[in-house]
């Protein structure tokens, strides 16, 4: 009877190959193609790889730490990271523990910023005071100095060019009460000097008549001229964001200087490539055809892991995971355990062949008897991955919520670099189950359907005299 064979092996191999090319290289290499698909170059790295900083701030005064205050502080800090041109910044908060977690990654070619500078700038209150008079600082006001306006009166701040100059000034919009105060200052005290302070930094000294315009806006410029472009942008950002609602202090930080190249990424690619090659060669030599199927499946799994890490499709609402040094260990670990399902299936096929079953019967029995064992083995790795993900706390994650009952008694901490390890372990194990169930069985069956491959020896059995002659 003529055997009808569905070429699943070839169909799936082509599909996996195409998926792998896109998962590793993205879609930008296609001529004229927009960046619809993210490749390995689009992986976002934690500060432990390309350089960056993670900081945990805590609120000094516990009473102030309402949910809104914690959220607002996180939002303000997030926007302040723009001052430093930081490419990747994630800011999270823990309302209960009164903490703000900041995670920053330096961009390519970025100059190093000292940790203290960064922590001070991100956590400064940015409390603005307009004082009539020239005190040495807002804390050393004399009887002749008078507080006239505060940060609460500021609605907006934007940078403008000074007329006939390369310098810049900042136009500050005030609220109703602020406009009224500005108008009275402009009309009644136009010659009096007003100093504008942000925390203890004097950002402007000018006569009231020059400082406030007819519409009640404030024209901020430095003493004796305008601001440089960077300075104006920095001050305008602080003014428009308003006062930081919480008084924050750094509880812990980790800093890594900018790196000229991302060495962990190189390690991942080299170690991944070498281990894939070595283990694939071993699998093919040891298991023959099923070994080749295991390799195709493994390449698909590796591509699947990378696709999950990058987010694959380049849409804003699809977010990837930040990769880290522990994440690299996770990826290589998944390559090591990626053969788990295939090894169990292949060994079962050899056993069934030894028992005297036909090749088709042995493949069918091997696949169906191995699924439970493969499932159980991978689920324990998924459990381990979920628990590792729970080590890293983030208010928006399910794993944080899942692990909270076990770690409620400890202060919350952010260990973002471990999240990638847990994530990769979970994804890798699930892909192992999926590929083992959906790809390996049809590929093995399809191969055995071709008369040229319908040979027990090719599936790990002993070479019989008849087959040996063929």
């Amino acid at each position: 009877m003529k055997r009808t064979v569905m070429p699943w092996f070839f169909i799936l191999t082509v599909l996996i190959a195409a998926f792998s090319v896109f998962a590793f290289a993205g879609s930008s290499w296609l001529p004229g193609s927009p960046d619809y698909i993210r490749g390995i170059r689009d992986v976002v790295w934690e500060h432990d790889s390309g350089g960056g900083m993670s900081i945990t701030f805590f609120a000094v005064s516990a009473d102030e730490a309402s949910h809104d205050a914690a959220k607002r502080s996180a939002d303000i800090i997030r926007s302040r990271t723009e001052i430093f041109d930081i490419v990747s910044a994630s800011v999270d908060y823990d309302e209960k523990e009164k903490k703000v977690f900041v995670d920053l990654a330096w961009g390519e070619g970025q100059e190093g910023i000292l940790p203290e500078t960064l922590m001070t700038e991100l956590s400064r209150p940015a409390d603005v005071m307009f004082i009539m008079g020239t005190p040495q600082s807002p804390d050393n006001m004399t009887d002749s100095d008078q507080f006239v306006l505060g940060g609460g009166n500021i609605l907006s701040a934007k940078v403008e060019m000074m007329p006939e100059s390369t310098q810049k000034l900042i136009m500050v919009g005030l609220n109703g009460a602020g406009i009224m105060a500005a108008e009275s200052l402009r009309s009644d005290f136009s010659d009096k000097t007003v100093t504008v302070w942000m925390d203890n930094e004097c950002i402007c000294i000018a006569a009231a008549g020059e400082l406030f315009d007819d519409a009640g806006n404030v024209r901020l410029c430095a003493d004796g001229g305008g601001y440089s472009s960077d300075e104006a942008d920095r001050i305008a950002l602080y003014l428009s964001n308003g006062v930081l609602p919480l008084e924050l202090e750094a509880q812990s930080f980790e800093y890594t200087s900018p790196r000229s190249e991302n060495v962990p990424q190189k390690v991942m690619l080299w170690a991944g490539g070498i281990s894939l090659t070595v283990i694939c060669l071993f699998m093919i030599l040891y298991y023959r055809l099923p070994g080749m199927v295991a390799c195709v499946s493994m390449i698909g799994q590796a591509a699947g892991i990378i696709a999950c890490v990058t987010g694959f499709l380049n849409f804003d609402f699809i977010k990837g995971v930040k990769m880290s040094v522990p994440g690299v260990v996770g990826v290589i670990m998944c390559i090591g355990i990626g053969y788990y399902t295939n090894v169990i299936i292949n060994e079962r096929i050899i056993e069934e062949i030894k028992k005297g079953k036909s090749l088709d019967g042995a493949i069918e029995a091997g696949c169906s008897h191995s699924i439970i064992s493969a499932f159980d083995g991978n689920i324990t790795a998924v459990l381990a991955g979920l628990i590792i993900m729970g080590l890293s706390e983030n208010s928006g994650r399910v794993t944080t919520w899942l692990m909270k009952p076990f770690v409620w008694m400890f202060p919350s901490v952010s260990i973002e670099s471990l999240y990638a390890l847990g994530f990769v372990l979970v994804v890798g194990s699930l892909l192992n189950i999926v590929f083992g169930m959906l790809a390996t069985r049809p590929m093995l069956k399809s191969l055995s359907g071709y008369s040229v491959f319908h040979n027990r020896w090719l599936f790990g059995g002993q070479r019989s005299r008849k087959e040996g002659l063929r």
Binding site: D48, T56, G112, L114, P115, E116, Q251, S252, F253, E254, Y255, T256, S257, V263, V267, A271, S275, V278, I279, F282, Y286, V325, P326, V328, V329, I332, M333, I335, G336, I337, Y339, Y340, V343, I344, E347, E351, I372, S373, G377, N378, I379, T380, A381, L383, A384, G385, I387, I388, G390, L391, M403, F406, V407, F410, P411, V413, I415, L418, L421, L425
Partner: protein, 310 residues
């Protein structure tokens, strides 16, 4: 139905237990002799690492020792310091965060450059952790390690109900404990600092090393179902070990091979932090070859035999 008695692994079960206990005893002795496990990030304090630029190597610039550098920093700042040479870098640590607010990384750099005028330095790494953060991380890591251990034991207990759920869970838990212990001993032997990444590596290793035990017990379950009460428990275990030995060794070898390659590539490219994760995983997975095949299955046989006698 009967099973041929070619391999009689279970007759040596006391030897397996003795080997396991001997390994544990050796591990305890190594730990005691090596001293207390070095605390890494779990400790509190501040650390700054300054890379010395190529102008002059650190060794050329040191007529003075690093203890002197630490004493100099203490004299100019008033805070406790310790300083260490690490290849082409100087690592300065402050044992407490007390002086952290008062002295910056930039100031320390200036002081060090004044002390070693021939060297040009650049801050490459900095860390600061208060006691509460360190305690939080340590506590979480230990609790989640215990949670991982329990979760796996419970899962195995549920999945292998048909061959005695709690008996299988305890047997696997014993094997898992030995694998974790092997990972711990590796941390002591290689003097890795104990921190959250090492704890995460041990949890990940648990997830992988228990796979081997699952392969063995899956086969035991299948043979138990097939032969039933007609065959001795020990013979079922013998046959299962014989059938699964190759599977366990091949699956674990793949993982060991991948981890070894990673450790070598990371060492060649000079990436810190990978070796301290790879080594515990390697030890745990290597140990699981023995513990899953012999320790767990022999314990299961003994428990089941006692159960059956009752």
């Amino acid at each position: 139905m009967s099973i041929s008695e070619e391999k009689n692994f279970m007759s040596n079960r006391k030897i397996y237990w003795l080997i396991s206990l001997a390994v544990v005893a050796a591990g305890i002795i190594i730990t005691v002799l090596s001293g207390v496990v070095k605390a890494g990030r779990l400790d509190s304090g501040a650390l700054y690492e300054y890379k010395t630029k190529e102008a002059v190597s650190v060794s050329d610039a040191e007529p003075v020792t690093y203890t002197d550098a630490a004493q100099y920093l203490k004299a100019v700042t008033g805070y406790e310091f310790s300083a260490l040479k690490n290849d082409d870098a100087i690592v300065v640590t402050m044992p407490s965060t007390e002086g952290f607010e008062s002295i910056t990384a930039g100031q320390i750099e200036q002081h060090l450059e004044r002390f070693y005028p021939a060297l040009d330095m650049e801050l490459v790494r900095g860390e600061m952790h208060e006691q509460s953060t360190s305690k939080g991380i340590a506590g979480r890591a230990l609790v989640l390690l215990a949670v991982a251990f329990l979760a796996m034991a419970v899962y195995i207990g549920r999945r292998f109900r048909s061959i005695g759920g709690w008996v299988t869970a305890i047997s696997c838990a014993a094997a898992l404990f030995l694998d974790c212990f092997a990972a711990f001993v590796s941390i002591v032997i290689f003097a890795f600092p104990m921190d959250e990444t090492v704890a995460a590596a041990v949890i990940a290793a648990m997830g992988c090393s228990v796979n081997a035990a699952i392969i063995v017990f899956d086969c035991i379950r299948e043979n138990y179902r097939f032969f039933g009460e007609s065959v001795e428990i020990a013979r079922i275990a013998d046959r299962s070990i014989e059938e699964t030995g190759r599977r366990v060794i091949v699956t674990n070898s793949c993982l060991i091979c991948a981890m070894l390659i990673l450790a070598i590539v990371a060492a060649v490219m000079g990436v810190e932090g990978i070796a301290k994760m790879c080594v515990p995983i390697l030890f745990a997975v290597f140990s699981s070859c023995f513990t899953s095949l012999f320790t767990a299955s022999s314990l299961w046989v003994s428990f089941k035999e006692k159960q059956n006698k009752k």
